[in-house]
Structures are given as C-alpha cells and as structure tokens.
Symmetry: C2
Subunit: 371 residues, 2 copies
C-alpha cells in the first residue's frame, strides 16, 4: 500500500503532563507543498479523534485523504502557496506512538500501561514536529473538533508562535453532555469481555463495544434534522432485513451498522479510550491560575496571541454546541485578534466540516487569502 | 409492600396487530377519585416506556407515584373532580402481561416468543379497560412520550370516544434520530452475552446491556443545557473516584451510573426491547390509506375528533423534537379541535414533564378547567 507518512522522533524521554514519560516515541505526519525560504508559509492541521495524517492525496499516496477536497493545489487550503503539515495525534494508532505500540521498557505493547494522555501532550508533540521542520512561526494553525482543543493548547503553550488560527467545531473544554457521551462509549468498550482490561488480540477483539461506541459517535456527530431528510422512516427491502423483530429494519439502522463495520477493526480500542478521556480532561483553564468558584475560560482564551482568527461553528452540532465556538471567538477577540465568527446552518452537525466542504472551504480560503 | 393495583382481564384471545394473539392477558391499573353518575369525568393517563400504573399515591399505596405532584386531591389533575385511570402498558413488566409472564400455551415465560407488540395493541387494551370501568367517553385522554403515541392510536381507533386530549412531548411517528438511539439501546442489551436470546435469569442477567441502554436513555431524556448548569465540569471527591483513568471521575458520570443502578434490575430487559421497538414502529399514517411517496401524517392527524386539545412541547427535547408536537397541534386543529399549543423552555428536555410540574401542571389545569 502506498504510504506518504514520515516519522519524527520526539525528544526522548518525552515527559507527559499527568506523569510518566515516553521513551523513543514518534509522530507520523504528512506534508504537502514546500516551505518557502522565509519559513512563513506553514499551515499545521490538527485532526479530530479518529483521522490519520493523510488529510489529502499527494505524490507518494494518491488515495483520497479525509479532507481531500479541502487541501491540495488550487484547493481551499492551496498547497501551491502553503506548506501544509498534518500529524497523526500522539496516542493515536495511525503511525504515532500510542497504546498499541511496544513499550521499550518491557518489550510488550503498552496497552493500558501507556501513560495518561492529555491533549496538552499532543499539542506539545505537534510543536516539536513543527520546530523540527524548520518552522519558527506558523502562518496558520487549523484545528477541527478534538484537534481544535489541541490547537488551543498549542496556542497557549506557544505565545507568538502562530500568526493566524482557524478553530472549527471545537470547544475550550468539554461540557457534561459530551463527557456523558464519551463516558458511555468508553464503558461500552470496557464492558466488552473481549476488551479484557486492554489485553485483546485479533482473535479476541472487543468488536461489540467498539461497534456501540462508534454508532453512538455517529449519532452525535450528525444531526436529527439531516436524518429526517435523508432517512425519514424508510425501511430496508425485505430481502435485506434480518429475520428478527429487533434486527435492522430501518435505513438509519443499516447506515449506523455500515459506519460501525468500517471503523471497528481499523482503530485500536485502547487508543480510542485514551484519546476519548483526553478530550474530557482538556480545559483551557488549566493554563491560568485557578480561582476557586470562578470560570476562567474567558481569561484563558484572552491570553492567546494571534493576529487573525476564524472560528466556525454549526448550529446543528450537539457535541460541540455553537455557544462554545462563540466563547472561543469572543475570547480570541478579547485577546486582541481580528476574529471572523462564522455560523453555518449545515444540517450535518458536528461532522459538517468533513462534508460541507464548499461552505467551510470558502471561509477558510477567505482567511488564508487575507494573510 | 402496599399495592394499589387492580387487574383487568383482557378479552381472550386478544389479537395482536402484527399477528398472533394473547390468551388470558391482563392489564394492571390504578384509579383515583370516583366516576360520577353521568360517567363523564374520566381521565385516562397513558405513560412513557418505563413508568408503572402508580402515577400517584392513594389510600391503598401511599408511596409517591411517578406523577405525584400532578395527580391528587386539589392538584393540577384534581382527583376531587376527576376519575383518573392509569394502566400499566400492555407488554410492560409492572403488572400487565408482557414477555416475562407465563405463556399459557407452554407454561413457560414468553420471553421472545411474546407476539410482536405495537402501541396500537396497547391502545386497544387501554380502551377495553376504559369500557370495563363503565366509561363510554373519556373526558380527557392524557399521553406522555410513548404514552402520547398510544393516545394518538386510541383517538384514531375510537372516533368520538374522547372529549379532550392532552398530548405531551410526543410524536405522530418516530424520526430517525429517535430510532437510532433506541436501536442502539436494544443492541446494547442484545449483545450482552447474558441476554442469551432472551433466556436470562437473576443469576445471569444482562446488567451491562441494560446499564448502557439506560444511560443512553437518560442522556437523551435530558438536555445538554441543563447539565451545563447542573454538573459543569465538577469532579467527584478523590475518595469517591475509581482508581482507573477510565473510571467515573466527573459528577455527570456518577449521575448516569446512579440512574442505571436504579433501573437495571427493576425493568425486564425483554419487555424493554418490545416496548422500544413498538415505539419505532408506531406511525399515525397506519390509520389512513397509503399514498406511495406522500406524507400522510397531516391527513391522519386530521381524522382525530376531539373538542379541545392541549399540546405541550419542550424546546430542549432532542428525542421528540418540538416540530413534532407542532405537527400534532396543527393536525388536531385541522380536524376541528380547539387547540392550545404550549411551548415550554424547560431545561430538562424530554423529561421535563416529570420535573417541571408547575409549568406543565398550570397548562394541564387550564385545559381541564375549561371542560
């Protein structure tokens, strides 16, 4: 299989925020375009929970990436102008070091002995990669969903290190609804006997738990409104139905099943647990002194230094509600940035940035064009 | 334990809409107040999926019911004036015949050999009970959530049989988001090895599946907005936490766990599966001739004959969205009823009718007072 990934060795040991350190850890990443002589045309993309570094096709790997229509020559993020970098998140299972990798101290896979992971660690790893690639200051930092939280961490860790920021369908910290959903996804995996405290293998794999987790993800990534138009109450044809009163009967059920099938064996369950919990833990307030009983979110966001920012939210997003993107926009503005806050009525909910490319792309291209 | 339930023997055999029949089936029910000589003060309450017939305390059972502050002498549904009837839904496990009961043909519990259940069957059972109690015409039919769908079936089955209708947080048919959620709840139960195709017992009980199903229910019954105010990102005290990076840490997680603990062993898993699937299947359009490719919802609702109606919806309800209550209100109005459509901004989502009693009660008392 073609593979455009490169690997970057993180400093070793790489200390982790909640304790412990990784030895010999690495990040997988891909790039598109060329860094110019001034080193001022780099765009870093930080991803959601499950995508790989393969945001788009390139010469080494012509297969379509997860943001294929967004990134490329002449596209909204124009790789003719920009040097685009996309790492696989630290702790993931798409090339970067994660729980499925070998612990050099034991010669065995880390599994649940992987140190507790935070998005702050992931952001620090991404920054090490950026420096390694010779970039002193990013022209633009783009973060989607979980990657948007990593981006906020990156900005708070590196004052002056980013010129412009694009924040998409993300939040300054998880709200209880999102925590509840993710907690239930983790519970479905952990209660699957095949999870076995993290000691599964291909023959004994927590397929049930992963399937429930993925379906619940898909339900919260899309929107009820989209599904009314898309599935209504359409039934499968009789010959596609299971002969079981509780089996798949409605189209929406087979849609969820297809999503689960594609995901279940392609993502490491322990990695999923680590990244999911890291998303719950993330809080911009960790970057400012605690004030008991006070909400520090605005104070934390105000510390971020960027010249320009684009914050995009979607009205139908139930996982990262619009009010949280508004909070980010206001915080960045209070910190001195010139901010465009773009509200889209895309029906695709949280996933809209993966689907409604023309509208997200137009806003993104507008910001990049202003730099 | 005190028990105010009475039992009504359904006609035997009791044929079921999707085929098969029940022999020797019965409904558990409770009543409050007294039927007057004219027989025109009866109020029938049809419940959501999980409640019992014990809507409120009474002389035989002083324990608080699930609508304790709504029903009683001098309360919003004033049992000094009204003769209130609340049956446990056919197919449930709180006294009415359901999958946990003995099949007289085999002497064994029905389990998954219970006939396919529909809310139309449940409505027909409730109507048999009403006739048995000597009521020709209900003064008012109240339906909440799943019970609201049963109520629509009752109205469509019995033209002229109801003077006024109160429809609360319900829908003329399930939308795909609700189907998806319920499908996933059923899957969690069915994939639990202890479900064992319905052949569980107390020692081998699908506790995991029921717990996941209940937690997912609670997440969709409430609203993200309510939880921001109620739980924010508050952590449990260190001594209440599990020593596990994936264990319960946030208050919202322990809230879900407490809900699941209370529910898991108190509701029959097979009964849950049957009622859940019946909720997906329900469609008012079954009561009018099919017109391929056309939406018959308005045409079906227009056939309902009541003098007055109150339709209540909650803006934060994600399971039965407000647009569906609006559809019901418009349909009843088109059918000739005088309709009050009340939109509440209660933060408690779908569950608001169980919590925000003052506001629901005021609207209900207003309608009942007009009769």
């Amino acid at each position: 299989m073609p593979d455009a990934r490169r690997w970057f060795a993180l400093p070793s040991p790489f200390p982790m925020k909640r304790g412990g350190a990784l030895r010999g850890a690495r990040l997988a990443y891909e790039t598109w375009g060329t860094l110019n002589a001034a080193g001022d045309n780099a765009v870093l993309i930080l991803t959601g929970l499950s995508p790989s570094a393969h945001a788009a096709s390139n010469a080494e790997d012509p297969s379509p990436g997860w943001w294929e229509d967004m990134v490329g020559p002449g596209k909204y993020i124009d790789t003719g102008r920009w040097f685009v970098i996309c790492p696989n998140t630290l702790g993931s299972c798409k090339g970067s070091t994660g729980p499925a990798d070998t612990d050099p101290d034991t010669g065995e896979p880390y599994r649940t002995d992987f140190p507790e992971l935070t998005l702050d660690d992931a952001a620090r790893g991404a920054h090490e990669l950026v420096r390694h690639l010779g970039v002193e200051r990013l022209a633009c930092l783009v973060g989607n969903s979980m990657g948007g939280m990593c981006a906020l961490a990156y900005l708070l860790q590196n004052p002056g290190g980013v010129r412009a920021h694009i924040s998409i369908s993300t939040a300054p910290q998880a709200q209880p609804f999102a925590i509840a959903i993710r907690s239930l996804q983790r519970e479905a995996i952990r209660l699957d006997p095949n999870w076995n405290e993290g000691h599964y293998d291909d023959a004994h794999y927590p397929e049930t738990g992963m399937s429930i987790a993925r379906k619940l993800g898909v339900i919260t990534y899309r929107s009820a409104m989209e599904w009314v138009g898309r599935f209504a109450r359409i039934r499968l044809d009789a010959d596609q139905r299971e002969d079981d009163p509780f089996g798949v009967e409605f189209q929406v059920e087979s849609y969820l099943a297809a999503h689960a099938r594609r995901f279940v064996r392609s993502f490491d369950p322990n990695s999923y647990l680590y990244l999911s919990r890291a998303s719950d833990w993330f809080d911009v307030c960790d970057y400012v002194p605690r004030r008991p009983g006070k909400d520090n979110t605005a104070a934390a966001l105000r510390q971020i230094e960027v010249e320009r920012a684009l914050v995009i939210g979607v009205e139908t997003d139930i996982l990262f509600p619009l009010s949280q993107q508004e909070q980010i926009a206001e915080g960045l503005r209070a910190g001195g940035a010139e901010v465009d806050f773009v509200v889209l009525d895309s029906p695709q909910g949280h996933d809209a940035f993966l689907v409604d490319i023309p509208r997200f792309g137009a806003a993104i291209a507008r910001l990049l064009g202003s730099l």
